[in-house]
């Protein structure tokens, strides 16, 4: 009897084990190759800095990916938010105002992504492509308007840039995300929608309403992420945020998130994945790997992790 329980537990939790395993493997390999430099105080600090924004974004993204959807517009959104935050803070002298402005904007985008796709009967990925184009254009226009290559913030953001602040932010968002995911309807419904949207609807769940909530929470995470991104670099330009949508997807996959969502999705994927992603880059540089090999290795790792953590029956593609 115990044997059967053991096998079942393993099957259900194998995804978890494998994704933690990937992180542990990276840690071990790079600790050795970098001769311990991976663990220097300085390095741990920069790892947290690099992972902070990705982790916050990924935690919000879990709700979207659980439903089997994707959001392409994250990068463009975050770029515009950073620029706007800087511009508004410089103009008004108040960081709070800057943050509230981008928070409001991100909520609107969440609504658009959630509602408009349902209204128009389009898959959410289409509305996010549309938003991506709009925001990309806005970003370019904003930079042309200020007529420089980048804008720098004049507010002193050194507190937000500190490791303490970033750790606190990660922890707070994590607590909220886990709370929402495991203990409220939002998490349960998003997973159910990803597993079988029709059956969920036929259980009396208002799918549209909860989709919108998921996108709204994600929007909040984007705004917070933009805040910390601005704090880190103090400037933003025409290319800020490019590619983040892909980075988040890679991070989630490295953390073991199934692309088609469903019941095997976890918040832990986002944290594990964000750190694995960052450690991969960091570790390769510390180990002195030649830059031409870096791409190949990253691609191999990515492929291997997908093969290991993806279930074929789920189907790999999101909707």
């Amino acid at each position: 009897m115990n044997k059967i329980v053991g096998k079942d537990w393993l099957r259900v939790h194998s995804g978890d084990l494998l994704s933690y395993g990937g992180l542990v493997l990276c840690l071990i390999i790079f600790s050795i190759l970098s001769k311990g430099k991976l663990w220097s105080a300085y390095n741990v600090g920069i790892l947290i800095q690099a992972a902070c924004v990705y982790a916050i974004l990924a935690m919000g993204a879990v709700f979207i990916y659980s439903m089997g959807y994707m959001d392409i517009s994250v990068g463009a959104q975050i770029g515009v938010y950073c620029i706007l935050c800087i511009m508004i803070t410089n103009a008004t002298g108040s960081l709070l105002l800057g943050f509230l402005a981008i928070l409001g904007l991100s909520l609107v985008c969440g609504l658009i992504n959630g509602y408009v796709s349902v209204m128009l009967g389009l898959p959410s990925i289409v509305t996010s492509i549309f938003l991506n184009s709009i925001f990309g254009g806005v970003q370019m226009l904003l930079m042309e308007w200020v007529d420089t290559n980048s804008v720098g913030i004049q507010y002193d953001m050194s507190f937000l840039k500190s490791i303490t602040a970033m750790v606190i932010a990660i922890v707070v968002i994590a607590v909220i995300s886990i709370g929402l995911y495991k203990y409220t309807q939002l998490g349960k419904y998003t997973k159910a929608i990803g597993a079988n949207e029709t059956a969920t609807k036929l259980s009396g769940v208002s799918v549209t309403k909860w989709k919108v909530f998921a996108y709204i929470f994600f929007g909040v995470c984007i705004a917070v992420g933009a805040l910390f991104l601005t704090a880190r670099t103090g400037s933003a330009g025409k290319g800020t945020g490019t590619g983040y949508a892909m980075d988040i997807m890679v991070a989630l996959l490295l953390g073991g998130m199934p692309l088609s969502g469903g019941m095997r999705s976890r918040i832990s994927s986002s944290l594990i994945g964000a750190f694995t992603y960052v450690i991969l880059s960091n570790g390769l540089t510390l180990s002195g790997v030649d830059t031409s090999y870096v791409y190949v290795i990253k691609a191999l790792v990515f492929l291997a992790v997908i093969l290991i953590t993806c279930r074929k029956k789920d189907g790999v593609l999101p909707r």
């Binding site: 259900v12 495991k182 203990y183 159910a192 597993a195 079988n196 036929l202 009396g204 208002s206």
Partner: protein, 500 residues
């Protein structure tokens, strides 16, 4: 007794450690319509698939027309006279009917490597008319025909002049009344021509009516062989059921009472409802009442069920739950309506999800305390239902796709029991469910009625509706044809004439 066409001796089939067939002996004689009956997993399909060349036995012998028989493929078996038609779709899409009928035999119609389509189409038309399928033409694309017609094309393809034994494996579930009649006539004709038919079906009544001899299987072994005279005796049905299930399930399968009374309150009402398909449908469902809706598939009964759950758009009329309009699925659930869809795996259940997740899904808003849902509360609610309905599983976190058909259906029921819905609309509630579990479900449904719940039972199984409904409504062409109150003398023949 007539000559033996096919003899199977001590056949065994193992799939790894699983024993599918154990020392099975079977005789198929000329002129027989030989029924094979048993629950899911009893081995009936396994035997015939081995005989028709789809797989090989682990041990045992077969003799066909006196010679040792071990076909290596279905094509070989069919060429030698043993053909089989299945439950799943087996026609080639995007080809014409003629191309399907003569797939693999194109050289009969070709000269110098070119296929003479006109010749093939003419031959196809001739073949189709022999099978009474005159509404189809050889040159038509098979895509234009629905599932049933395609099945019939398969039939025409399978039965050639060389055919000695035709295996019909659960095919009748896919066919409408008309289609079944065509099949029965074909079976009778084959029997009259001294050929044989092996007929596999879940429907006991159908088997009893059309077979000349019946073999019952359970757990891979032969449990009984029943001759025609025995079949016509009293109580044959329950005896056969007993052989199938392995225990005495008693006389009571459906309800034992004939009391069609119910509460006075109207739980659910359709008031002059119509849309592009349904024409002016009205119905009042009372508390403590079981209303059955039956008819040919395509008569509109499935849409009626969906309407009550707010899933279909209404052009005119209203669906009212205790006087309040039902707007959509969320609204319906909130008002206490539950819906068990006939597409169990796609619509009613999240297969890749835990049993408890499925069970508590409609109840989550009720489990909320200050916005949060306690996992312990979920587990408790799920466990209650698992115990109540005796769902066979390790625990609530097992995934639904590991359950058998009957247990899956129990989970569908459990959803609404947990929610406490007092109006349940169930569409084909016992489809694909084993007899033992069926009986338990009928009991459950009866208890629900006694507890004052209102039940709308939509089903394609006549026996089930006659056995369970307080009122039986027959639909035809998207409107109500006739209503029958519950009575002891009600039989299928009374009803059938209103269905067609």
């Amino acid at each position: 007794m007539k000559e033996i066409l096919l003899e199977i001796k001590k056949m065994n089939k193992k799939f790894g450690p699983i024993v599918a067939l154990k020392d099975v002996d079977l005789e198929i004689r000329r002129g027989q319509i030989h029924g094979l009956i048993g629950e899911n997993g009893s081995g009936k399909s396994t035997i015939t698939s081995i005989a028709a060349g789809m797989q090989q036995a682990t041990s045992g012998e077969m003799f066909y027309l006196g010679e040792p028989w071990k076909p290596s493929s279905m094509v070989e078996a069919q060429a030698k006279g043993v053909s089989m038609i299945l439950q799943e779709a087996n026609t080639i899409p995007n080809c014409t009917v003629a191309e399907n009928l003569f797939a693999g035999q194109e050289d009969h119609f070709s000269t110098l490597g070119f296929v003479n389509s006109r010749k093939m189409n003419r031959a196809a038309d001739e073949l189709l008319s022999r099978f009474e399928l005159t509404h189809m033409k050889g040159r038509d694309s098979i895509n234009t025909y629905g599932f049933e017609d395609r099945k019939l094309v398969e039939l025409a393809r399978a039965v050639t002049d060389e055919t000695q034994i035709l295996v019909v494996d659960e095919t009748t579930t896919a066919l409408s009344f008309e289609g079944r009649k065509i099949l029965y006539r074909l079976m009778d004709r084959l029997a009259a021509e001294d050929k044989a038919v092996i007929f596999i079906s879940h429907d006991l009544d159908e088997i009893l009516e059309h077979c000349t001899i019946l073999t019952v299987l359970r757990d891979g072994e032969i449990r009984g062989v029943i001759q025609k005279e025995e079949m016509q005796k009293e109580g044959s049905v329950s005896r056969i059921r007993q052989l199938m299930v392995g225990r005495d399930i008693g006389d009571q399968f459906y309800r034992s009472d004939y009391d069609g009374s119910h509460g006075s309150g109207v739980a659910l009402e359709y008031r002059n409802v119509s849309n592009e398909k349904i024409k002016d449908f009205s119905l009042k469902l009372h508390e403590g009442e079981i209303v059955g809706i039956g008819g040919l598939s395509g008569c509109g009964m499935h849409e009626i069920g969906r309407m009550a759950f707010g899933l279909e758009h209404l052009d005119h009329g209203h669906v009212l739950c205790r006087g309040k309009e039902v707007l959509n699925a969320t609204d319906a659930v909130r008002q206490g309506i539950g819906y068990i869809s006939k597409n169990r795996d796609q619509e009613a259940l999240i297969l890749e999800g835990a049993i408890s997740t499925n069970i508590v899904m409609p109840s989550l808003p009720d489990l909320r305390k200050a916005g949060f849902v306690s996992p312990a509360g979920e587990r408790k609610l799920a466990k209650e239902q698992i115990d109540l309905l005796a769902i066979k599983c390790e625990n609530g976190s097992q995934w639904v796709n590991t359950l058998s058909g009957g247990n899956k259906q129990k989970v569908s029921f459990a959803k609404w029991m947990a929610k406490g819905s007092d109006i349940i609309i169930m569409d084909c509630p016992t489809r694909g469910v084993d007899i033992g579990v069926k009986q338990a479900m009928y009991q459950l449904i009866y208890e629900m009625k006694k507890a004052g719940k209102a039940i709308l039972m939509i089903s394609e199984e006549m026996a089930e509706l006659i056995g369970m409904a307080d009122r039986l409504i027959i639909m035809k062409d998207f409107e109500i044809a006739k209503e029958f109150p519950r009575s002891e003398g009600l039989s299928e023949t009374d009803i059938i004439e209103y269905m067609i």
